[in-house]
Amino acid sequence: MSKRPRPEPVQVIKQRRDAALHRLVDGVPYIQFLGIHFDRRGDELTAVLPFDEKLIGNPMLPALHGGATAAFLEVAAIIELSWSMLWEDMEQGRLDPSSPAAMAQLRLPKTIDFTVDYLRSGLPRDAYARARINRSGRRYASVHVEAWQDNRTKLFAQATGHFLMPSREDEPDPSHMLAT
């Protein structure tokens, strides 16, 4: 009976995954500007938007600005998509997240359209969001995002967006294949 190779120590794996997530998120100035960070449980991400005065729209209520909410949901969707690609490459050993050169190669998906439903007014508190990839093809992806504050079952906003996936280096650029 052949012995299985000893699995890597859990701390090594965790550090590698957390470092990859940080590199992905910290490299985007607008995510830093809004103060968004991500909690990770295995491959599951939760986006966290800590409350800040600059996120307020109507100061009389007060309520989060609809634009801040839309941006939060879009960030959650884009990072979820990028993370799912990154995760696969990382777990299969195709990408070494500790290599700055490899991480610099990463290209983010581009938003084609994004539809936000505002279900309740956003309270002046922390907000959370989770994105679910409903379909991810070679070129296009469809993502749904739910956001809540105090109560997970009482969403204050949800959104659906379509995204153009970055072309992978190991495949031909499909635009070259278009008949013109």
């Binding site: 607008y30 609809g66 634009g67 960030v75 359209d113 994004f114 539809t115």
Partner: protein
């Protein structure tokens, strides 16, 4: 009619998130609002290209849309976004100011419908367009 418009202008200019994003109100008249946002490296969404984040463009369009509702001749006292659907046509050119023009083209007793277009300095090719529905709160006792 100067009185309510002054109130609306001050209200829009005092929105904390909009001022944090450096938005400037350029026009506010009869259900049409134009709001601009100068390029700022803090708003970059794609570090590889320097293109600003779609979320910042959404915030600009949401602000312009809300402003268009507030300056509609029916003189609402408050509004909130019900939904906003944004289509991104092309990346805004890094370094350029972007401008959103929103038009509140129809109102019912309690809902306002808005369309909005954003361009950069190349005003012939839109960067993004959006359509939205907004709540419309009328002053108590105002005519329908």
């Amino acid at each position: 009619m100067t009185e309510p418009r002054t109130f609306v202008r001050q209200f829009i200019e005092a929105l904390p998130h909009s001022s944090a994003l450096g938005m400037e109100l350029e026009l506010l008249k009869d259900g049409v609002a134009v709001v601009a946002m100068p390029y700022d490296t803090r708003f970059i969404g794609d570090p590889a290209t320097g293109v600003i984040h779609g979320g910042a463009v959404s915030a600009l369009m949401d602000t312009a849309s809300g402003a268009a509702v507030m300056c509609h001749p029916c003189q609402p006292v408050a509004t909130a976004t019900i939904d906003l659907r944004i289509d991104y046509m092309r990346p805004a050119t890094p370094g350029q100011r972007i401008t959103a023009r929103a038009e509140c083209y129809h109102v019912t007793r309690s809902v306002a419908f808005v369309r909005v277009t954003t361009t950069d300095e190349d005003t012939d090719r839109p960067v993004a367009t959006a359509t939205g529905a907004f709540t419309l709160e009328r002053a108590k006792g105002s005519a329908k």
